[in-house]
């Protein structure tokens, strides 16, 4: 095990109309190869900004993001992004199969290899038959599965997920959580998962990073010592799950309280 992803001293400030807004003050953490880490924090704490900096979509104001020891200056080939807005992230003018295949065409992979990756990825999210459909013919949950398949087919070292299940209903959400855990266990990929949902963070993660309110720092790193095999019914009913969830909840409340007197202005 080594640190695949290292974030050190990351800062991000936005300049706009003469005002400087500090979104991220100082973030340092690392993610080991094959780890599933959840980032959770109060709403508006810059989680999405952080993930976009990690993914090379936004240039940080200061600090470094290293993937496998190399500095991230733009979106690296070793990372795939799953966005919250699946409906806007999938291209409506392409069929499901073409959506999954497009990034592979940019990677200059051979046609048989592309076909193999596409059908394998669609099968592993349970949508083997949907390749010929258009994304808008599918339900929301199925669309997000397509977006996940697109990310898997890209064969990333690190999968970045930005509140991917915030816009689906509770039952679909539970299914998708189990899908992500299952894929993580089968494929051994590294996942950095951003969520505002405390239960989701504890249920999914091997480790949870609790962020402070904006300007953001890491409030606490918490190891989730739940068994590897988790299921919606028993894991969520386990006393240890409740303890961990309560702890995370308290930390986030504390983060909000700390933010109010000093920096809320």
């Amino acid at each position: 095990m080594h640190a695949l992803l290292e974030i050190s001293g990351l800062r991000k400030a936005y300049e706009g109309s003469g005002r400087r807004t500090e979104a991220i003050r100082d973030l340092t953490f690392s993610v080991d190869a094959g780890e599933l880490v959840c980032l959770v924090g109060p709403s508006g704490c810059g989680k999405t900004t952080l993930l976009k900096c990690v993914g090379g979509l936004l240039a940080p104001t200061g600090g470094d993001v290293l993937l496998d020891g190399r500095r991230v200056g733009g979106p690296p080939p070793g990372m795939a992004f799953v966005f919250q807005e699946y409906g806007r992230s999938l291209f409506p003018w392409m069929r499901v199969g073409e959506n999954v295949e497009l990034p592979l065409r940019q990677k200059k992979l051979s046609k048989p290899r592309r076909r193999e990756l596409v059908s394998d990825a669609l099968e592993s999210v349970g949508l083997a038959d949907a390749a010929k459909a258009y994304p808008w013919q599918l339900s929301g949950g199925m669309q997000q599965r397509v977006a996940i398949a697109r990310a898997l087919a890209y064969e990333p070292e690190v999968l970045l997920m930005d509140e991917p299940f915030a816009a689906v209903d509770a039952q679909t959400r539970a299914d998708l959580e189990d899908l992500v855990r299952g894929l993580w266990q089968q494929r051994g990929i590294t996942i950095l998962f951003v969520t505002h949902d405390i239960d989701e963070a504890v249920y999914l993660g091997e480790r949870v990073l609790i962020l402070s309110a904006s300007p953001t720092v890491v409030q606490e790193q918490l190891k989730i010592d739940l068994p590897g095999e988790r299921d919606q019914l028993h894991t969520r009913a386990a006393p240890r799950f409740t303890e961990l969830r309560t702890h995370v909840y308290e930390q986030i409340q504390a983060a909000k309280r700390e933010a109010r007197p000093g920096g809320a202005g």
Binding site: K52, G55, G56, L57, G74, P75, P77, M79, A80, F81, F83, E85, R88, S89, F91, P92, W93, M94, L102, P103, Q106, K107, A133, Y134, W136, Q137, L138, S139, R150, Y154
Partner: protein
């Protein structure tokens, strides 16, 4: 789902029947009004005589030559306007600051009616095809350009970020994100431009005397061949109708995925 499709099919059949009835009524009115002496038959011949004149025109070789001339001016002018409109629209949108630098100039040039340029083109080229082309291109170029500008503005930031995160370069993003997003707008622009181009082609021929259906209308008028004149006007109308139907068909084929075409389908 098949039930609603049957329903919409039967509704479109009713619409077609109503449309045909309306047209038949209009034609009957055109027949009756001059026959009853409400207007002079010399200036307003009944439908049947216009139809006979149209039949004679269709059998005349010169009519088809004139139609060919009009379509040539229309097609070449439209092609230039569409090509130039798309290229200019993409360049203006993609190059930083160019959009804001050109906005006021575009807003100034766009409302100038193409027909106001007729004296200029006559001075430049006389009664040649080039005169027709200049007027057609000027009128239809703005239709395309403005739609392309709107279309490119409509690119979804999430789609753009998705493309960037998967390593799509500038050219790949233009091809796979920007172009498909702008395509519905481009199609609308082309459809509007096709109609305007026909109007300007016929106007130019009529006023300048460049060969084509417009010039033939002017000749029919000066030689008192009133039913022929009406028949040619009807022919230009039918041409406009065909062009619009054609443009809509292309639009529907190219945009199966778009909300405006796909309706609300769900599996």
């Amino acid at each position: 789902m098949s039930g609603s499709r049957d329903h919409s099919r039967s509704r479109s059949r009713t619409n077609a029947a109503l449309g045909a009835a309306g047209l038949a009524g209009f034609l009957a009115l055109g027949e009756a009004v001059p026959r009853l002496g409400l207007v002079s038959e010399d200036y307003f011949p009944p439908t049947s005589r216009i139809a006979t004149a149209l039949g004679t025109e269709l059998g005349d070789h010169a009519f088809w030559t004139a139609l060919g001339d009009t379509l040539t001016g229309w097609a070449i002018g439209l092609a230039i306007a569409v090509g130039a409109g798309i290229v200019a629209g993409v360049v203006v949108s993609v190059v930083p600051y160019l959009r804001r630098a050109t906005a006021s100039t575009i807003e100034f040039l766009r409302p100038i009616p193409s027909v106001a340029l007729i004296p200029l083109v006559v001075l430049l080229y006389g009664a040649e095809l080039r005169s027709v082309l200049l007027l057609v291109v000027y009128a239809s170029f703005w239709q395309v350009l403005v739609q392309v500008l709107y279309g490119i503005q409509d690119v979804d930031p999430v789609a753009e970020e998705t493309a960037r995160s998967y390593g799509l370069g500038t050219w790949a993003r233009v091809r796979h994100v920007l172009w498909p997003t702008a395509l519905p707008y481009v199609m609308t622009g082309v459809r509007l431009a096709a109609a305007v181009a026909l109007v300007l082609a016929v106007t130019a021929e009529l006023v300048i005397g460049a060969p084509g259906l417009g010039a033939r209308i002017a000749v029919a008028q000066t030689s008192q061949a009133v039913p022929d004149m009406y028949a040619l006007v009807v022919a230009t109308g039918l041409l406009g109708l065909l062009i619009n139907v054609g443009a809509r068909t292309v639009e529907r084929r190219a945009l199966v995925w778009h909300q405006s075409v796909r309706g609300e389908v769900a599996l």
